[in-house]
Amino acid sequence: MTISKKIITTKKSIAKFIFAGILIISGILLNYFNLGKVEFFSYNSVGSYLIFCGFIVLITSIMIIFTKKNKIYDERNEKISIRAMSWVWFFLFFGGFIIMIIDGISPINIRISEFISYSICALLLIYSVFYYIYSKRM
């Protein structure tokens, strides 16, 4: 691994640890000040959910550090990923535009948390489909 790549990965790891810390601290603060006490993605509060997410980010960051030695940088996979991601962005903007038009015609009544979770699932599905297509083509 070159020095520049090492610096980038170290910076990424530090950023991930900071992000995990922010999630955990904000979760603790929300719980301490009794904010966000609603049913949120099956958690009893937004704070608990943030703490959970923070620990997940922390664990994955630690796991990446320990498995980094065997990681292969593959430019083909990167290109496939970039192309699949460009389709995700396209569907995100196009889908958002369509939803805005539909909402203008007849208002959509759906909880924002449900809508976001469905959207994320749809975008992940689009990403997987295009990743598979490009991996077969390239």
Partner: protein, 64 residues
């Protein structure tokens, strides 16, 4: 893009896996390169040329 990777690799008795490990990519990338499905970056093309003991990049990669 056509390539001579298969012939040059077999001359050196290298498997796809071994070549992939030497240039630090996955075996799937080598398969795609051999099938002419994927155009490599200049860096990867240079690495492969060097490992396959070819003189020039044009000896390994041929533009159709």
């Amino acid at each position: 893009m056509k390539t001579n990777i298969t012939q040059l690799r077999k001359k050196l008795n290298l498997t796809q896996e071994q070549l992939a490990n030497k240039v630090n990519v996955t075996r799937q990338t080598i398969i795609s390169l051999e099938q002419g499905k994927y155009n490599p970056s200049l860096e990867l093309a240079y690495k492969i040329t060097k490992i396959l003991n070819a003189e020039k990049i044009e000896d390994v990669f041929l533009i159709k």
